[in-house]
């Protein structure tokens, strides 16, 4: 399936991407799966998506946990804990 991924703040700077459109293999179904898949890119991706670093995820503008299911056409976002206000 095809999804869009957005990166924000510290994570955007680490991966040096703000957004990408990506075709996912069939075995990537959840946020956990997607993190593992991205971690395979090596270097900074491995550091970001396999360590204990806190990364928040959202699907279609809604905060979700790691077990959330990703569907075709979704907008997924990864970002650090928020610090507004």
């Amino acid at each position: 399936m095809n999804i869009k991924i957005l990166y924000f703040a510290r994570i955007k700077e680490s991966v040096n991407y703000s957004t990408e459109d990506i075709l996912l293999p069939h075995n990537v179904k959840t946020i956990t799966d997607l993190k593992s898949y991205l971690a395979q890119r090596g270097d900074v991706w491995t550091d970001l998506f396999t360590t204990q670093q806190t990364i928040r995820a959202a699907i279609n503008h809604e905060l979700v946990d790691n077990t959330a299911i990703i569907n075709d056409g979704d907008e997924v976002a990864f970002f650090p804990p928020v610090t507004g206000g």
């Binding site: 959202a58 928020v82 610090t83 507004g84 206000g85």
Partner: protein
């Protein structure tokens, strides 16, 4: 219920006049203004830059307002959050709540701020004499938000 994300500053008197204009049953207005502090972790701040996630920001603030509205008797509410680059003592955020009763206005305003701090997708980067750095989230903000959890 109203939400704005903007780079421009805001004027409290004008915002409250607009908020009050349509209602005559208001007895209480509670407002919160958050400002850029001059110091963080001992270092003088020269600028603070706010990034956000357009689309999710508005949805998230709107969800918080709706939740506050379901818990307390609110006449009107307004959230303004600035983005872009700010200086110490600039205004960052305004939350204003009007209600017939002061206790409800206080509770709803503080609730909105506590949720905004932990749920709304904004990130702060500060520039000091040591260079630039992302502001770390505070566990005290998570604790402040957790106070409002309702047991079902």
């Amino acid at each position: 219920m109203s939400i704005r994300v903007q780079t421009e500053d805001f004027d409290l008197t004008a915002e409250l006049a607009a908020l009050r204009s349509s209602k005559t049953d208001i007895g209480a207005i509670v407002t919160f203004i958050g400002m850029v502090r001059d110091l963080n972790e001992g270092d003088a701040i020269s600028t603070l830059t706010l990034e956000h996630y357009p689309g999710m920001t508005e949805k998230s603030l709107s969800d918080i307002e709706k939740e506050a509205n379901s818990r307390w008797q609110i006449s009107q509410s307004l959230i303004i959050h600035r983005v872009g680059t700010l200086k110490p003592q600039d205004q960052i955020v305004l939350v204003a709540v009007t209600s017939p009763h002061r206790a409800e206005a206080f509770a709803a305003c503080e609730f909105i701020m506590d949720y905004l701090k932990t749920k709304a997708p904004f990130w702060k980067k500060e520039k000091t004499s040591q260079g630039e750095r992302w502001v770390e989230a505070k566990s005290s903000d998570d604790e402040a938000q957790a106070r409002w959890k309702q047991s079902d």
